[in-house]
Symmetry: C2
Subunit: 331 residues, 2 copies
């Protein structure tokens, strides 16, 4: 029942295999009577076309490659949820390619291309302009449609789906400034990449506008390492507000601050980015920028299907709306 081939169906239905193929792919070209007969046999035999053979013959695999770095991050997983839901709607399968730090990102691309995917979704938000450029070139050279999800790029030729991180950084900083905070730190990552660069730009713009001195503190994404950094931090500085470029950074900072007897939000206001469950479960709840990660994934996948089907797409650079979720960690 599972290993029925198109020949078996053709034989049982008394037609040629070409007709069976048409019933599946171009049903309007087959007389209804024939079509129904074939369909009946397909059902009886439990026939499902071998997608590998189909892929070879049609040069379309209805598979998209999804490139991720750290799947462990909640935002990545949720984006995958959006991608997966839309992919299912459009009958695409998903092949997952996890890129590790020790791998050459361009070399990996060639492996993905060898897998004959119809398109690629690139999720790594820790990219800089140079890498985005190289990746774009590789895809273009190989004529593979691609979309970057949650990546910021200035290249008008690169399909991206994202939010306006600069604006988000500006707004969250502004919220704290309006609450008369003056020594506002931005807790960013040690490693530099476009998305965080944008947040930083927005932060700096708001601070400058208010005549305040921007202070960016770079730390690791690792919760344990953070603890160490932040403790040193408190012995040094005056501070009445902090913005973490990720919720997890903000929450671990907030926890350590409270251990050091800073009251939140009275003496110290804290805010984060992404509005993950961390923000909801922390005490006090964390004010955060809601990034619609599920939607970014879903919209990116939808954009990719358009590009794969060569519909002319009017806008390949989509900015989704974000908003601030105000909670107890700020006033």
């Amino acid at each position: 029942m599972s290993n029925a081939t198109i020949y078996d169906v053709a034989g049982a239905a008394g037609v040629s295999l070409a007709t069976v193929s048409r019933v599946l792919n171009n049903p309007e070209k087959v007389k209804e009577e024939t079509r129904l007969r074939v369909l009946k046999v397909i059902k009886e035999l439990g026939y499902r076309p071998n997608v590998i053979a189909r892929g070879l013959a049609s040069r379309k695999t209805t598979t998209v490659g999804v490139v991720i770095s750290d799947i462990t991050r909640a935002s990545v997983a949720e984006m995958l949820g959006g991608i997966s839901d839309i992919a299912q709607n459009y009958k695409y399968s998903i092949k997952l390619f996890a890129i590790r730090e020790d791998m050459d990102p361009i070399d990996t691309l060639y492996d993905i291309i060898a897998e004959q995917v119809d398109g690629v979704l690139y999720l790594n938000d820790e990219l800089n302009d140079r890498l985005v450029g190289e990746i774009k070139k590789t895809f273009k050279d190989n004529n593979i449609p691609f979309v970057f999800a949650n990546v910021v790029s200035n290249d008008p030729d690169v399909p991206t789906v994202s939010i306006d991180y600069e604006k988000a950084g500006y707004e969250i900083t502004k919220l704290l400034i309006n609450d008369h905070r003056e020594s506002i730190y931005l807790l960013s990552t040690a490693r530099k990449y476009s998305v965080n660069d944008e947040k930083e730009k927005g932060y700096v713009r708001a601070m400058n506008e208010a005549g305040l001195e921007p202070k960016i503190f770079r730390t690791s994404g690792d919760t344990n390492v953070n603890r160490h950094h932040f403790q040193a931090f408190f012995s040094d500085k005056k501070i009445d507000a902090a913005i973490g470029v990720r919720d997890s950074i903000a929450v671990s900072f907030m926890n350590i601050a409270m251990d050091a007897n800073h009251t939140v939000p009275e003496k110290l206001a804290v805010a984060g980015f992404q509005n993950t469950k961390y923000a909801l479960l922390s005490r006090p709840n964390l004010t955060s920028i809601d990034v619609p990660v599920y939607d970014i994934g879903a919209v990116a996948m939808r954009l990719l299907t358009k590009l794969m089907n060569e519909k002319d797409v009017d806008n390949i650079r989509i900015i989704l709306p974000h908003y601030i979720v105000k909670r107890q960690s700020t006033r």
Copy 2:
């Protein structure tokens, strides 16, 4: 450069395509001189075999299907990390199949089989015995190797990688009993499935042993719904300890308890399962059962590669060790 085929390589190297194929798949059968020449051409042309064509000809796709339900759950994502790392070591690709509530799980299996994967990793831990049985039958009928990850089954014929959840449930309950807690609730899920059944069994065993009355409270996995349930809960009951079958349940319970002026751990001890970041970031930190999810994924993938290569596997039911991480939410 990307669209070089095996014919191009054969032509440029002055050999037949069979030889090129051998260089790639059975290099020991090719004279060194020839092999080096072919390898050089492959490199020059940037040739990468079309995996689809290879899959059709060899009837091996070196792809495994990974079936998941809710990828959003941290444990699922981390398991995928382990799977992905090992898959890369063994040169397997991963196709992701997300099963939604509204889909027939068995019907989906046929779709996966049509994708010609060499094996399947089944991650949904919310399975009961009946479903596990049906899934097993379908795979066996179609001669597809499979492994269940983080699933509990009594069937000695079903390859599983998991921890001993019954024992874990017993141990965490025992920890609270030894702290002289008497009214210990287990906060479980409304929906019943094997993994949580095991936790419940262990909990009940420990309670009975101590002559205490087991009290199981069933709630939704949804954080918002939980709040509502738990609040009603407090107006009703006396309680001095609670165990959440997931950290997220335990943490949201703990937060709501503290809002209702229960002091943790003095008046109320709380513990969870999975030892996720929730446990680390909550205030107070949550005592939890550490489930080695990354390892479960990695070991499951390794077991699957053995089954796919038909090595005789001595043990297809692997139990990984777990341990209790004691933190501030208990004494």
